[in-house]
């Protein structure tokens, strides 16, 4: 028993909290393609050759294989095949602008698979040395409404153009004429949401390290071919664009948007930082949640380790320990009074004021009126050394000042246990949803298969259940303490 406790302590000590804002491994890349999933792994390709692979979506290392070199590739899965686009070009702002947009197929992105073989590249668009277009930076878009396949391309040098491709062959649709859809941006990408088509582009200065002003903007249209207008009604052909994501503290220059839909209500954007100041100022892969605000996409940012009230979207009550409510001093002082009393500050209730009355073993979780008391104060910390998920690390959720941890329990219920051990039922994945609320899901549920999330079974009762983005039972808000 003593030995077991000691082992638990050693295991617990191995879980070190980290800032969950940067991919780990060696996520060095410029112009990452949209993240593609293939046989349980994640892939992204970059300018030059090759790209990154991740087993879990959090730790990235080189290893993806893409022939052809060139610049700024993109990937889209069509049926059970992957269409990879890239550009062969020479220029840059001060150079030549003859470019070729090429696409090729592969049945898998896993370079170790016997099925891994790229087809011969097909040219689908090009630019001449001195026309108002620079045929690089392809973005591929399979329209979920019509099934039609589109490619956008271009840089600051002239217009962003779009062409239609045949989703069966990848070839340019016969007779299709390219259309100019934006200026003064690059790294374009089309996406669809709620009846709108969005054209995203990267604005600002590229390739200048910590001084790069790269930022991702968008316009939208009811038609896939535009015109795309920003929130001020400016056409992207006039330079319009509403901000999606710009620099974060110590992460400079957001560029080359890609969208990954995990499931309804859970979406991620991939991009690169021109310079991560915590990683030698190198260009690195970043993944952020997409939040839709008034049908405009914005970055949800990343939550930070810290102390939070976990508040249900269903009722607005706070997740808490099912323990006695301990009253604060002060009491009712009447509604009137002379007004001449000295105004004093009432101290917060402290953990040591109440913890003595709490049971020592498991304690149920409950949802109650938010009162900012110790039994409602959760410390959420990322856990290293455990595989993460797309764009995030699992975390432990403990009552602040204790090691009492929220845990999934048999029967798909939820309890708190006196000690965090790092067991999978004590590890939680937190995804910001597309409406800005959070989904909180245990890594595993004892005795259960499949994915469960923390839900409100009633206004005051938490439990675990299947995720339904359309139900507020499945959504929570994290309010910084």
């Amino acid at each position: 028993m003593i030995m077991k406790a000691r082992i638990s302590l050693i295991i617990a000590a191995a879980f070190i909290s980290v800032a969950a804002s940067a991919q780990i491994g060696k996520p060095f890349i410029h112009d990452p393609s949209t993240i593609a999933e293939c046989d349980g792994k994640y892939y992204t390709f970059g300018t030059g050759s090759g790209g990154l692979i991740s087993e879990d979506g959090w730790t990235w290392n080189s290893g993806a294989v893409r022939p052809g070199g060139g610049a700024a590739p993109d990937v889209v899965k069509i049926g059970d095949r992957y269409l990879v686009g890239y550009s062969a070009t020479g220029g840059g702002l001060g150079g030549g602008h003859a470019g070729r947009i090429l696409v090729m197929w592969n049945n898998t992105l896993d370079p170790n698979s016997p099925d891994f073989k790229y087809s011969d590249p097909i040219e689908v668009a090009h630019s001449e040395v001195d026309e108002d277009c620079d045929a690089i930076d392809i973005g591929l878009f399979l329209d979920p409404v019509t099934g039609r396949l589109w490619a956008t391309y271009g840089t600051y040098f002239g217009a962003i153009r779009m062409v239609e491709l045949d989703p069966k062959t990848g070839e340019r649709v016969k007779g299709n004429v390219e259309k100019d859809v934006a200026v003064d941006c690059e790294a374009s990408d089309l996406i669809y949401h709620n009846g709108w088509y969005y054209l995203l582009g990267t604005h600002g200065t590229c390739c200048d390290g910590t001084n790069s002003t790269y930022n991702i903007v968008c316009g939208r249209s009811r038609n896939v071919t535009g015109p795309f207008y920003d929130n001020m009604g400016r056409d992207m052909m006039a330079g319009g664009g509403k901000m999606v994501i710009a620099a974060e503290n110590r992460r400079i220059g957001a560029g080359h948007f890609g969208r990954t839909i995990v499931e309804e209500g859970v979406e991620k954007m991939s991009l690169h930082w021109e310079a991560d100041m915590d990683q030698s100022g190198r260009s690195v892969l970043a993944i952020r949640p997409i939040v839709w605000v008034n049908d405009w996409p914005v970055s949800g940012g990343v939550w930070e380790d810290g102390e939070y009230a976990i508040i249900s979207e269903r009722r607005g009550y706070a997740l808490e320990l099912a323990v006695d409510f301990v009253r604060l001093g002060g009491g009712m002082r009447g509604f009137g009074g002379s007004g001449n009393d000295t105004v004093v500050k009432i101290e917060d209730q402290k953990l040591e004021d109440v913890i003595g009355g709490w049971p020592k073993g498991e304690i149920d979780a409950r949802i109650g009126d938010i009162m900012y008391r110790p039994h409602q104060k959760w410390s959420i910390e990322s856990v290293e050394d455990v595989p993460g998920y797309l764009g995030g690390l699992y975390c432990k959720i403990v009552i602040d000042g204790t090691n009492r941890a929220l845990a999934a329990a048999p029967g798909a219920e939820v309890v708190t246990v006196p000690e965090f051990t790092g067991a999978p039922e004590q590890l939680w994945r937190i995804d910001m949803l597309t409406d800005g609320t959070y989904r909180i899901m245990p890594k595993e549920v004892p005795g259960e298969k499949g994915e469960f999330v923390l839900i409100s079974a009633g206004d005051s009762t938490p439990s675990l259940g299947k995720f339904d983005f359309n139900s507020d039972n499945c959504k929570w808000n994290l309010k910084k303490w």
Partner: protein, 261 residues
Amino acid sequence: MKIHHLVSSLAICLFALLASSHAANAQTPGLSSPPLEGYFYPVTTASVTPDSQGFIRRWTLLEPIVKPNRSNTVFVDSYVREAFATEYFPNQMTVVPKDGDKVKVTVEVQAPVNLAMGRPQQQQAPAAPKFEKRTLVWHSLDSKRFNVKLFRFATGLDKDRYGVIFWAVTVINCDQDLENVRMAVGSNSASMWWIDGQEALILSGDRRMVMDDATSKRLTLSKGRHVLRGAVINGPGMSDFCVRFIDEAGNPVKNYTITTQ
């Protein structure tokens, strides 16, 4: 009417000749660029009005002054102010040029850009700058687009396209006072703008041309004639600008005429 047609025809012929002539100082020798007439009309009318969105399309543009810059990131406020405070030609801040007027400038000579081979060749070591005198010509033009494509103005005349300064002048004529309006500008890259010799606004940094990117403070354009003057500086990239006046609600102001004099 006939006279007008004759003048127009002559202007178009001269314009075509101008556009097809090749100067000896081109930055990209031997390269065939899109013709000037794809982006500009010759001025054939006495005056025009702003376009439907209020943009001023008539400008008299000076052929680019060479100002070598391999990057636009140097265009901080002080750099831009100093670059435009430098006198390149006489009466730089007061002249209202006529089409065909010429100025003599001394400029630093740039190495050619090897467009066909991609990126510009990096010099192994900075060579000592060479200077030469050049004669530059003012051209009165109507832009075919809301944005004045200075880059195509330069390439259409086979002039230096990168590492350049452009000067632009136009005249607006108000039949009444236009109160509380703002001059709204987008430029690629940095630029400064003056109205009747008074600074209206500056756009510093590595700019892209964005409609209504920056505006002047509220101002009144009094009844009568006003001279608008702008200067745009760029290293690599496609130089252009767009200018209009907007009202308090951001709507275009269009009740004035535009002339070259």
